[in-house]
């Protein structure tokens, strides 16, 4: 017997905002997850400002900026996809826009992979052959750099999979791929974008003028 039947049909239906509320609760826990790393970064940067500056200047600012532009664009595309999903006359574009945003997410991951390969060849991976071994704080910077960017990439990969599934659902006219659920998935994507917005100046733009 279902809970609804057991209570004589008095169980209230979830409010339309329950899904959004649940996602925001999840995002609040994610703020604390990435926030801990940002706190560690702040501590390291305050302790070793010169080392963090030297290390940051070794990151590829061109690829970092390009990736920021790619992710900002993907977020705008997802926001437009949500608007299309909520509009009867533009609903047909939703699936394609979600596919486009997922493709931009894949482009981001590709560029990030290229950057990792460059870093590896330049000896910027923490370990015995670390290129900036004589600079205090530089290795700590790169440990946080890899940890934060890899965790972000993992979140982004989950987002790409989510958008692709919803894109396919929209294209096939599946009832579960409705505007409300797409809106909730979009919240996650925008959060991943915000994490990168914060990481960009902290990882790529330290002491650039030096």
């Amino acid at each position: 017997m279902s809970a609804h039947a057991a209570t004589g049909g008095s169980v209230p239906a979830p409010t339309p905002d329950a899904g959004r509320f649940g996602m925001w609760i999840f995002l609040a826990t994610e703020v604390l997850f990435f926030g801990g790393l940002l706190t560690a970064y702040a501590y390291g940067r305050i302790q070793w400002p010169d080392g963090f500056g030297v290390a940051s200047r070794h990151t590829d600012v061109l690829l970092g900026t390009l990736n920021t532009g790619v992710l900002l664009t993907s977020s705008a595309v997802v926001a437009l996809a949500v608007a299309c999903a909520e509009s009867t006359s533009h609903r047909r574009w939703t699936g394609w826009l979600l596919y486009a945003a997922a493709a931009l997410g894949l482009a981001f991951l590709g560029i990030k992979g290229l950057e990792y390969a460059q870093d590896w060849h330049e000896g910027l991976f923490p370990g015995p052959a670390f290129e900036l071994a004589g600079t205090a704080g530089a290795e700590l910077f790169y440990m946080l750099y890899y940890l934060m960017t890899a965790l972000h990439a993992l979140h982004l990969a989950i987002g790409v999979a989510t958008l692709t599934v919803f894109g396919a659902g929209c294209r096939r006219g599946r009832p579960w791929a409705n505007a409300h659920r797409i809106d909730i998935a979009a919240l996650y994507w925008h959060f991943v974008d915000i994490v990168w917005i914060v990481l960009y100046p902290l990882l790529y733009l330290v002491n650039r003028h030096a």
Partner: protein, 116 residues
């Protein structure tokens, strides 16, 4: 969503996208201007403005229910509180060496301290 509302909303999203790209370039440009502590302030300040645009226009927090807004604010507030408490701990003890660094990373720092 009505056609007129959709057009206005889509236009707003377009402007927000352009503003975000402009802010990204402003952030990049400001990092090449020597401003001392102002560089970090500019970078973080612009990141906060960009994040606010995304939260307000893309995530539509303004039209969300009060419970959603409380959940979002609680996440940020909890992080601020925990970071402040951690900062208090670090600020009131002598500079510790981070054990996660290799000895050669810390050597210049130790030599500097010894020469004082």
């Amino acid at each position: 969503m009505k056609e007129r509302d959709f057009t206005a909303h889509a236009r707003r999203l377009g402007w927000a996208w352009l503003a975000l790209l402009a802010l990204m370039l402003a952030s990049l440009g400001s990092s090449y201007v020597p401003m001392g502590a102002g560089n970090a302030a500019a970078g973080i300040g612009i990141a906060i403005v960009k994040s606010t645009l995304v939260v307000w226009l893309f995530m539509r927090i303004g039209s969300a229910s009060p419970s959603v807004r409380v959940a979002a604010a609680t996440g940020i507030a909890a992080w601020c509180l925990l970071t402040s408490l951690s900062g208090l701990d670090y600020a009131t003890r002598s500079a510790p060496q981070a054990s996660v660094q290799q000895p050669e990373q810390l050597r210049p720092l130790l030599e500097k301290e010894r020469s004082r």
